[in-house]
Amino acid sequence: MVDISTSLLGVRLRNPTVLASGILGVTASSLKRVAEAGAGAVTMKSIGPERREGHPTPVVVEVTSGLLNAVGLSCPSPDESLEELRKAVKEIKAPVIASFYGRTVKEFGEVAERISEAKPAFIEANISCPNMESEYGKPFGTDPEVTGKITEKVKNKTRIPLIVKLTPNVLDIASIAKAAESAGADIISAINSYGPGMAINIETAKPILSNKFGGMSGSAIKPLAVRCVYEIYEAVNIPIIGVGGIQTGRDAVEMMMAGATAVGVGTAVMNRDLKVFSEICGELEGFMEEWGYSKIDELRGKAHD
């Protein structure tokens, strides 16, 4: 028998699949359902400093081998978000990750402090949303110095282990990961969606997304995500959650061989629905049995020299 359980900083995950942020994470009951469908851990949609409706629809459009989205960081008020998060932590057996964002370094600290009251297993700083340029300036995660400042600010405000989620839209993602690690990040999550990208409807000559541009996710970005995780693994000593285009157990193996301890699953829900979590686990076990692996740790970083 193979053992696909894993551990993130001592927190046990019964399997390495993690529901990625922004997918099915609006409500506690939805997250609970995903956990019951087999996810090893679940991430609640990013909580921000104030209520936001996000961008007008359309906010998603399917493209070849992937999805463009510009949901626009919608979230209820902090009070209501906190209530939903408390419910999720209370009712869900799997570890709950609370994603969050701020508009300033200070706000990242404030929101982190607030959501920590709900005692999620981890908090995840979303410093990498690609859809917020006009209002929020370039994603914080494109600058190592700002990444470090946010990490430090958050670490001073909470004892809950901190995941820093990175954007791939940088020249040197390893240096950003290192900056986060040096400032005290406990885990790196990589990557957020690519781009932004764009899809134009040619009959009407109009951009499809109301925001015009949207982050690219899905199979198309998997090789890019695998490369990012590989580079980050070489640069840091903290665990990595590898996210980006994982659809199958084989994809999960590849991501772990690049260096991931756990793997995020998001857009694959579009293609394989909620059963994607248990199916990925089954495929992962099948691969491990066939190739003589007994523990998930044996896969981690195996592609490195």
Partner: protein
């Protein structure tokens, strides 16, 4: 998920002073109760149930907000985007003595199931409720079919004065209805659902929630406490499935905040 297909509007028909039917140049293999996302470039994208599946896709829409206001300016020959059909949870053909209870424009998603139910030679009663006589729809069409039509209006200008719920209540007291289908304002559907549970008569409900992706990944339309997605496991649920849920109590807006119903 897909991307919107761009199609021409073949016909726009005024149904009532506030409701129009749009026929699109698109054939879709949809089932009764399913919906599609309609996109007006530069305005938005919203979910609408099919009101006819006979030939071309048809949507019967009431003007309620910015999107439908713009929709009402569209004419024959204009272009619109469509993706779908969505909703694995469609109306299921059940029962022998069946009642379809519609409130307002809620008759629209029920229209395709009425034809399906009649195919099996069932005894069918349709209750249509509206605020006033001018807001009733498809009365002539329904009268031609082999069914009992009961009408209720808030102001008593046609049929009995009062609600669909009252008419249904009377019908259940004397009849042998063994299946209920309903769509309309949520408070009405909640009363009907409770009534059906009390009388132990199965009831199928077409539920409306704020949707973003329309295809099961964003999580915006999930129902508490089951977490079921209106766009995927719905939009049709049984009264049993919605028992002790948010149904009839609250829903969520674009931000995810709860709003009372």
């Amino acid at each position: 998920m897909g991307a919107p297909d761009i199609v021409r509007i073949l016909k726009v028909k005024d149904e009532t002073p506030t409701v129009k039917t749009f026929t699109l140049d698109k054939k879709m293999a949809a089932k009764p109760g399913q919906f599609a996302m309609l996109w007006i470039p530069g305005v938005g994208e919203k979910p609408f149930s099919f009101s006819s599946l006979k030939d071309k896709a048809e949507f019967t829409i009431r003007e309620v907000g910015a999107f439908t206001k713009k929709m009402f300016t569209l004419k024959k020959g204009d272009l619109i985007g469509i993706r779908g059909p969505f909703g694995d949870g469609c109306f299921r053909i059940e029962g022998k003595k069946v009642c379809v209870a519609a409130g307002g424009v809620g008759i629209a998603p029920l229209r395709p199931i009425i034809d399906e139910l009649l195919k099996g030679g069932r005894e069918l009663t349709v209750i249509q409720g509206a605020s006033t006589v001018d807001e009733l729809m498809w009365i002539d069409e329904l009268k031609k079919k082999k069914l009992d039509l009961l009408i209720a209006t808030d102001d008593g200008t046609c049929g009995s004065r009062g609600s669909v719920c009252d008419v249904l209540h009377n019908l259940l007291d004397k009849g042998e209805i063994d299946q209920i289908y309903t769509c309309g304002p949520e408070p009405m559907m909640k009363v009907i659902a409770d009534l059906s549970l009390e009388k132990k008569i199965p009831c199928q409900i077409s539920l409306d929630r704020y949707m973003k992706c329309g295809n099961g990944i964003c999580g915006q339309c999930c129902v508490d406490p089951s977490g079921k997605r209106v766009c995927k496991e719905g939009p049709v649920f049984t009264a049993e499935e919605l028992k002790d849920s948010e149904f009839g109590r609250y829903r969520r807006d674009a931000s995810g905040s709860r709003c009372d119903i």
